[in-house]
Symmetry: C2
Subunit: 182 residues, 2 copies
């Protein structure tokens, strides 16, 4: 891909992330406008709206995965784990909007998004294990149950449209349940 084509692609992805993150029913035309490119350019890179949504969702998941991998090297495993958990839940509204737009477009998440989602889960597992070894998360909390909590907190916060204050209190209750019994 030539440099200007790469630039356009990146600009379209950034615009799509913002547009669809705010409103799942937005159109590809809205994306082209915000990106400052013609609609034909968008379709050259992403033949259908589903292709574009899929690329944006994958990018979101990959970014979260990369952030988790980065945090796994932290000297403060408790802060890394609880901080990452908080970040995922806080960002979930716009991420879920994109996932819902994909469902509304009649498509399930494709292979790329699934792979990125699997990578995110693996990276989260590492954060969990390190926090458990450090004694800040109880050792009997398994990945499956803790990951279900993460997804649940994300979806709950989004569904109810929680105020940040209430969301943080909810996270406080969840985190207390994850700490070792005194």
């Amino acid at each position: 891909m030539r440099a200007d084509a790469r630039d356009n692609r990146a600009r379209i992805m950034t615009a799509a992330d913002e547009v669809f993150g705010q409103s799942p029913s937005a159109s590809t035309d809205d994306v082209a406008k915000l990106a400052g490119v013609g609609i034909a350019t968008v379709f050259r890179h992403f033949p259908t709206k589903t292709d574009l949504l899929e690329a944006v969702l994958t990018l979101r998941l990959e970014r979260l995965r990369d952030r988790a991998i980065e945090l796994a090297d932290s000297n403060f495993p408790g802060e890394a784990f609880f901080g990452f958990f908080t970040q995922v839940v806080s960002e979930s509204a716009s991420k879920l909007a994109i996932a819902e737009a994909l469902t509304a477009a009649g498509s399930a998440a494709g292979a790329d998004a699934k792979k990125a989602g699997g990578g995110l889960r693996d990276a989260f597992d590492t954060l969990l294990k390190r926090a458990q070894e450090d004694g800040v998360v109880r050792r009997d909390a398994g990945l499956a149950a803790v990951y279900a909590l993460l997804i649940g907190a994300s979806r709950g916060a989004t569904a109810v449209g929680l105020e940040p204050e209430v969301r943080d209190r909810m996270l406080g209750l969840i985190f207390d349940g994850l700490r070792p019994r005194p």
Copy 2:
């Protein structure tokens, strides 16, 4: 309404609850077949699929609300609260399927479902307060945060299609966070 019309209506609601709870994309025709009535009878009671979905969702919410009101008289406020929380999360898959079918049918929950939802939240608040007075749930856990946890756990369990075993471990973590600090 004549007795046989009431019977038909009840039979259609029971069938719709089962059919749509399993598959949001099921048709009104599937409901008529299971109910053992003609499609014209279904449409006489519920002019559109949306009307039927709305009635079934409202019935679900009302049943949960009535169960919470009943449990509020229990002599064991802790068991009543945690038991009800577990029941809501366990039943969420089919209830959410109905809510999603309603969204897919292009409608938000209408006035009846909203009123039933509000009644459920009020009844849950009573269960929470009684458990707090009894010392089995921490007093600093407010309704908004705990209700967000309930919705989140329900949506998380449904989204991931959790095994009952993992779901129960997730609930165990949530409940530990809700108990008073030792």
